[in-house]
């Protein structure tokens, strides 16, 4: 149904002569998966992509929006840790599409400047997601940031013996 809707929207956009656009973002920072481990990025090198997210109900201001594509598997239990330096990060996991109208399946804004924010995968439906890292601060709202993926951990046999 939404595919049909998208086609209708596309047709409407042609008629509007540039007056409207789908408020969308691009995962320019790359892809995160279980093999990512830790990556470092300076979010100041990102651009401000979206004005509002989470069903267009959360304005996110003019800070740079760093966006990664994330694929969540069935029964995933891992987490993504965001470690900002010198600014107060906010992280959101957009479900399905990288748009302002997408539902935010997870959000994290628990700590202040330099504090870690954590997005957990437990309970999420399998599918495509987008991790958006930004800040609500008017200034000083970006900086060096470590992103760590803690994958779904299998139970490993550490020791076994028969006496």
């Amino acid at each position: 149904m939404k595919i049909k809707n998208a086609l209708m929207v596309a047709a409407a956009q042609l008629l509007l002569a540039g007056g409207a656009y789908a408020q969308s973002c691009s995962p320019a920072a790359g892809v995160l998966n279980d093999g990512t481990g830790s990556v470092n990025i300076n979010t100041c090198t990102s651009t401000d992509q979206l004005a509002s997210i989470c069903n267009s109900s959360t304005p996110i201001g003019n800070a740079p929006d760093t966006v990664y594509a994330v694929q969540i598997g069935a029964t995933a239990t891992g987490q993504i840790q965001v470690n900002p330096t010198g600014y107060d990060a906010y992280a959101a996991l957009l479900q399905g599409t990288c748009t302002g109208g997408a539902t935010c399946s997870r959000e994290a804004d628990s700590n202040g400047t330099g504090g870690q924010e954590v997005i957990t995968a437990s309970g999420l439906a399998a599918g495509s997601y987008f991790l958006l890292v930004t800040s609500f601060a008017a200034s000083g709202n970006c900086g060096a940031t470590g992103i760590t993926v803690v994958p779904t951990m299998p139970v490993s046999l550490q020791n076994f013996s028969i006496n």
Binding site: M1, K2, K4, N5, A6, M8, V9, A12, Q13, L15, L16, A17, G18, G19, A20, Y21, A22, Q23, A51, S52, C54, N55, S56, S57, T58, P59, I60, Y90, A92, T99, G100, G101, T103, C104, S105, E107, D109, S110, A125, F136
Partner: protein
Amino acid sequence: MKANVMMKTLSLAVLGLAGLSFAGASMAACPTGIGGNQSPPGPWTAANQLQSVLTVTTPGLASTECMMRTALNQNSSPAAKASAVDQTPNAEQRYRARFMLSTGIALTQASRSALIFNVVGPNAPAGGTQAALQIFLTGTGSARGLRFLVGDTAQPSQYRTVDVPLPNQAGANRVEIDLTFAAGAGTNGQLRYWVSDQATATTDGSPTGPAVTGLANGAWGGVDQVVLGIATASGLWRSSYTNTDFVDFDEFDSRRQTFIGQ
């Protein structure tokens, strides 16, 4: 066929909202959870919750059995929210909705406000967001009121503003909207609204205030989803109020054409 399918889709929203207002004799009539966590399953697509209270409680407003109760944690994030999402609308060119609202918060100062109803289109105008209509609960300076921001790309802000005091300051109010979209770059979009004490009957022909006409709102492309609950609270709201300062919602219904009323 297409029209029938779409109407059925919207009727699901009606059923779901009734899920928050089931008449019944016991708490068992109330669903547990909202959105994907709801049991029994309901039509709400999702629940949005961050640093907040979002529950279904009994009794409801106006003698109903259940209602949705929301509050934000004190000193919460600017992103804090407690809301339910309905994504069954599909680029609807006319959208009518009704819900009940009650709050005991001593909300008088205009600097304290929160978004309570967000009507979201599939598109956004250049430089704007996908919010085609937003209703804020806000202080008016002396009382509780609602602020409607309705999309109009002819305005520098892209929105026109209507302020309406809540008729029932201490109890349940009924809010209804009738939003029509202009085609393309047209300027014949319109918003009609009703804000009344829940006990007061309303009629299609007598909205609360004059219709907001001449809207250039085609750029939003209609209604694709709505969000009911609290979000985007002002800094003073988040610093002043706690997770027991509730805003309660009930009796949500949405349609394409017909007046809803009581």
